[in-house]
Point group: C2
Chain length 374, copies 2
Amino acid sequence: MTASAMKWTTLQVARDKRAKNPTLNDVAQSAGVSLATAARVLRKSNYPVDETLKNKVEAAAKLLGYVPNMVARRLRGGKQGVVGLIVGDMMDAHYGIIAEAVTERAESAHGNFAIVCNMQRDPLLEIKYLHRLLEYRVDGIILAGGGFDQWTHHQALTEAIEELKRTGTAVASLMPRGLEVPVFSADNEAIGITIAKFIVENGHSKIGILLGPARNEMTKLRMQAMTSHLSGCAVDYAIANIDSTAEAGAIGAAEMLARNPDFSALICGSDAIAFGAANYLRAEGIDIPGRISVMGLGNTRLATLCSPRLTTVEMNFAQAGNAALDFILSQDPASMQSPGEIIPHSLVIGDSFARIETPAALRPELAEPSRLTD
Amino acid sequence: MTASAMKWTTLQVARDKRAKNPTLNDVAQSAGVSLATAARVLRKSNYPVDETLKNKVEAAAKLLGYVPNMVARRLRGGKQGVVGLIVGDMMDAHYGIIAEAVTERAESAHGNFAIVCNMQRDPLLEIKYLHRLLEYRVDGIILAGGGFDQWTHHQALTEAIEELKRTGTAVASLMPRGLEVPVFSADNEAIGITIAKFIVENGHSKIGILLGPARNEMTKLRMQAMTSHLSGCAVDYAIANIDSTAEAGAIGAAEMLARNPDFSALICGSDAIAFGAANYLRAEGIDIPGRISVMGLGNTRLATLCSPRLTTVEMNFAQAGNAALDFILSQDPASMQSPGEIIPHSLVIGDSFARIETPAALRPELAEPSRLTD
DNA sequence: GCGAAGCAAGATAACGTTGTCTATACTGTT
DNA sequence: AACAGTATAGACAACGTTATCTTGCTTCGC
């Protein structure tokens, strides 16, 4: 008999003796007690059960290999703590951080799991997933799909959200989306100002800015705050909105350099952009940060992989995701409202950014050290 | 009234008029038909229903905003096509490819979703997730958690798998795990040979090899085949087993260079290792591929992000994941066996690898062009 | 020693579906 | 015109739980 034949045989056997999972009723009968008693024992209810019966039930459950059926439990009654998480793009480290944090916390803190839905940057797919999650009657949904094209089909999105909320599904968002749901997010305007201040206070007066798509709400908020602050300082800056990818970052850096050859700092709207830009600049033989300082945003894995390591901004998306999850799962029906929560951000100092000395006349007053956290 | 106050008011209203989701019974009553008829219409059964009633039911469903309850449907009867996917490390591009492919196909081809469970390289967490997925009575589970420490708690893992199979849950693996489940995977021995052949046929005779942990089954298979082939050729090689990360790759490259200063090709067990190694070598001023050729494995995002772009091996994990998913969801109970499937791999030519000219005496015969795919 | 009170175990009704079984009305045939 | 045969609608049980209600028994106070 060949090893292969043996394997098939084993599988055959496994199939033939297929037995349905034992039910609570089976356990009760096997233990010689009523269904209710078995349920009380195995559900760890605080309803008192005689110790003898309790032991019998537990023995029977173990013997039969009883595994509670969450589907039935769920149909019957209360929330089991299943949440849906819709992310914009699984392969993007930005969302990866969120997915990892939320699934981890769902597991460890709430003993459950989050259903991760990858909307692949497609607004229609986001809506499709919302409907599907509604069909499965999840207890709550975390929207982490903002960050790009978020106004197409916005009406349909709003309606889907309303339907969910109306029927008792808690919804929260990790990005400002223009929806009537609590938002757990960093303060994007403050981030813009933090970055602008940091650049200016370090003496840079000619600045290139490569941001993500302008139709993205977060980008817009950051950009407005950033430019508004920069305009108040004696600095030149040029802005371009590009895709938030390394490839686009490289091209953007090249164009920025061609049009604006003497900028000394490059602000990037994401670590991906910064990574691509830094790669391009390095390949051109430009010293980072000696000749040009580069800043990323997000403190993703790319910030570490980049050489030199990126100076960037940590937005604590993991923390935001956890806060949203706790909000959703701690729902007592009485307090469905939450104003959301502003998660603090912080500068992460890498090796891609250097202070530059400028004539005192151009330098803004540095009365106090820059605040690294807002 | 401030904008903020308005917002709270709106939420308040939404909470107060909270209405349970309408049930099929509600629809039936509203349409003035029986429950069974409503079910037949909305389930698109092939049981004939009068056109008038059909329209009435559909109108009522639309009016009430009926959304079918998958939990009930699932409890009642058949499979709904929910699969669990256990990945080793969500943030690792390697598993990201799998997660993205499987969730995408579950959505588009099967109209459903995969529950992605991130085991975080922890064998115990893998088992925990298996139990939880069993509790939720998923229709099938895809194991994509191999690739590192896979022998600790192997007994418990085997038992969990057996229990799943016994109760009718289809299980498949994307890596050889030493389990009695069908494996959908590239042929790791063939990969080892493909790489070894490629290196030798391109004239390299001093070779450094940085592989992942030796306790990993896939690594072991590749390594054995690779070294067995290399030993047959007139080449020198040195092997080190390190963690499969960019950081370890950088350190590994440094040590390899220190001990073995004249190797001309560096074979890496993953793109992450290759990325770190290439970064280190470049920083040391070593020309890639002029002085040293570097090869990755996996064709992940890192291969593209690396400069120069990595020459690597595509293992088609996405294809493997899809095959596993189709196997699981196409289950008619009669054919629960499958021997699994070998997914073809292929060389991906980047810019990190160069041919080297060696004395004819040392060169093996190149009677036929190298086969790029196995 | 008897009624009230308490306590633990069992019976039962949902939860929202779907498959099967039954009932009814209508068609067609001799 | 009566009967078989075929449509189509409705009734109902079951999926595996849990919460509530009922029941039977013990115990306590007077």
